[in-house]
Symmetry: C2
């Protein structure tokens, strides 16, 4: 192992407590949509202390809002900035974007949490809280990787472009804004919670809202009405079937171990306003997965045709067609060849740190990787320390050991990807 | 036809426009729960003009709240009084309660209404609006019947106890309060919207809330979670089966023409808070019909056992049992022998006015009749002009012609039931 690598390893080992402490501070700030600023402020101050070149701005403007990949129902971005912080290289090396989102999803039913979701409680090497895994832990891994270079006086040739963005959970307007501001690179890593798997491909996804009509009546003579809830059950069953059919057709070996490569998730249902009335409307909201082999548009068409078929077959739907709209979040799928140099570098670093081959799979969810790769022309890989299963769930947590390992793997990858000034003499 | 009857008939014919106008004024006031006072004020003023003895009071107090039949989640009754208005008889006749509720259910999706739900618009002899059928039209029929007696100087022997109560749509606390205030009688008529059918038996009912647990996860890896919506679909299907089983056992001929004598209506569902999260909780709210042959308690037990069975069979429910609570509305079933004198008198009046036999059936919904009969020991029949099918629905309306016919039938029934001073000389 060369000198730089040994120093990085040593530094990261010695600074674990600081890393855990930083994650704890970040998790203790609630950065749900619209409330990102206080968490972002912590990241900004950290980057300032590291001496990075800061670019802090509130996203918005026509260039962003008129872009075809822009997809956002947020009224205002005021007061909750995006951050890009650059560790300028000496020149002559490959640049890299390290992208993490700062927004987190709502906590759900707090009763299901064993700790306060904003406590950052540490128990048996796991740090608990909303965002611990998705993805403040990933962000800390990035910051520690960068700091390990700086602290050891290591000069890279290529630029390291750290991005702390808003809006990933709602469609990626933050990353899109960074791309449109001109940030591109020779590669990008997004440390989303992959269980330390490497994801060259990312499932795309988008949100839908389905409106099912019924006919109101008194509950005592419910046969005089048509229950929107009962009709919604038919729609749910049809979507379950569509999900089954679509996934049966996925043959990419990267999806082999994923039970449902492109799921259709119904995340919300709301119908009725009175227990003893027959409900006249049901609203379903959900998320449709998009395979890296298809486009957002083609997947939408599949869903629309499926509902259209229902609308033509069911006696009630013929006269009261189910309607679908695509709203809110939309994440473009991403795809990188499995033998891209960035995958190879990352794999090599992984083996060096973990002593074993990484699992290379397709991502089961959309990330900002689709925007970075298709809009920003930046080859992107998703790889991070968080636990996929706990993302968006109660008791979300991260294994701190994994966070430190990913930090080391990324630091080593930066060394080889961006190149070091001494590297030409020392390493070869 | 005897002289009094002819005069009533004539008076009602001449005063149709006034009756329609009164209903219009009542419908134009929104008397949803908590907002009953302005409509009640119109009724009170009407009764005052008729010279009835008024008893106006805000319900509440421990006697009411501790009564086993009390079932109400309303925080306050302040400002929205109950009304009892008595037309005192000369003595020696049978008394009668004429009971109508003033509260209406919410309007639902206003887009489904062709007229403003509080317009009282009249079109082709039908008056439209929330409450037109359920049951302000019935209340107007009662008031016109009483006025037709007074206007013609007819003196009854028995008391006529007109009641305009709150809270029927939420469990009958208004009628219970009137019973506990001491109002009882030899018979009662409730002109709920029966399509002019006579209902000696009334289906009871009560509200339930079922909580179904899931396990949250990110929508992209939804297989890591358990969808509360998918589990709720199983509960819905189980309730559909229970409804089928229970109704297959109903053999009372009064229920013969009712497609679902004791329905289980799921009126509300709510689950999830984020399209791309797997929802961890689903709440179902609904109304369970109770046969006149069973008690509230025994029907509850049937439902609870049914869910218990699910909880023991489904792998997920074994660890995360579905829970049920009984909340809000509860209407005791009511039952009167089909050959009770009140049914006979009403039937005779019906034939006199309509020239045909009435349909005698069981009521497909709970009414305050259960409280009047089982708590108030007052034999009760439900019979009114509204259209069952439009109750609680968009475009609720009443056929004004039916309202006038019911008014006449009730006026004639009052004559014979309560007896008139001259009747002994004149009629026999």
């Amino acid at each position: 192992m060369v000198k730089n690598e040994i120093r990085i390893k040593q530094w990261l080992k010695e600074n674990r407590a600081r890393g855990a402490r930083l994650l704890q501070i970040l998790v203790r700030e609630n950065s749900t949509r619209g409330n990102e600023s206080s968490t972002q402020a912590i990241i900004i101050e950290k980057c300032r202390q590291l001496g990075l070149i800061l670019d802090i701005w509130e996203i918005g403007g026509n260039k962003l809002k008129n872009h075809p990949a822009f997809c956002c129902d947020r009224k205002s971005f005021d007061g909750n900035p995006n951050l890009v912080a650059v560790l300028k290289g000496l020149g002559g090396g490959k640049s890299i974007i390290l992208n993490g989102h700062i927004d987190v999803v709502p906590v759900g039913d707090e009763m299901n949490w064993k700790h306060d979701p904003f406590s950052g409680e540490i128990e048996c090497g796991r740090l608990y809280g909303r965002g611990a895994t998705d993805m403040k832990g990933g962000n800390v891994a990035l910051l520690m990787a960068i700091e390990s270079l700086i602290a050891n006086g290591i000069k890279l040739k290529g630029d390291v472009i750290f991005q702390s963005v808003i809006e990933e959970e709602s469609g990626g307007a933050g990353t899109l804004a960074a791309v449109l501001r001109g940030y591109q690179a020779d590669g990008a890593i997004i440390p989303e919670p992959t269980n330390m798997k490497i994801f060259p491909k990312q499932q795309g996804s988008m949100w839908f809202r389905i409106t099912v009509k019924g006919r109101a009546a008194h509950g005592g003579t419910r046969y005089e009405g048509v229950s929107a809830i009962e009709k919604a059950v038919l729609v749910i069953q049809r979507l379950q079937q569509l999900e089954k059919d679509r996934n049966a057709m996925v043959s990419d070996p990267l999806f082999e171990k994923i039970p449902i490569p492109i799921p259709i998730n119904i995340g919300k249902i709301s119908s009725g306003e009175w227990p003893s009335s027959v409900p006249d409307t049901a609203i379903l909201e959900g998320r449709m997965g998009v395979s890296p082999e298809e486009t957002i548009q083609s997947a939408q068409t599949v869903m629309e045709e499926c509902l259209q078929e229902m609308n033509e077959q069911d006696e009630w739907f013929i006269k009261n067609p189910v309607q679908i709209e695509w709203f809110g979040g939309r994440w473009i799928p991403g795809s990188l060849d499995s033998d891209h140099p960035l995958i190879n570098e990352l794999t090599r670093s992984f083996i060096e740190v973990k002593g074993d081959n990484p699992t290379i799979e397709a991502s089961p969810w959309g990330t900002d990787g689709g925007i970075l790769s298709s809009v920003g022309n930046t080859p992107t890989v998703v790889f991070g320390p968080g636990i996929t299963e706990t993302a968006h769930d109660a008791n979300e947590h991260i294994v701190l050991e994994d966070m430190f390992a990913v930090s080391e793997i990324i630091a080593l990858t930066l060394l080889s990807w961006c190149g070091t000034a001494e590297a030409s003499n020392e390493n070869k």
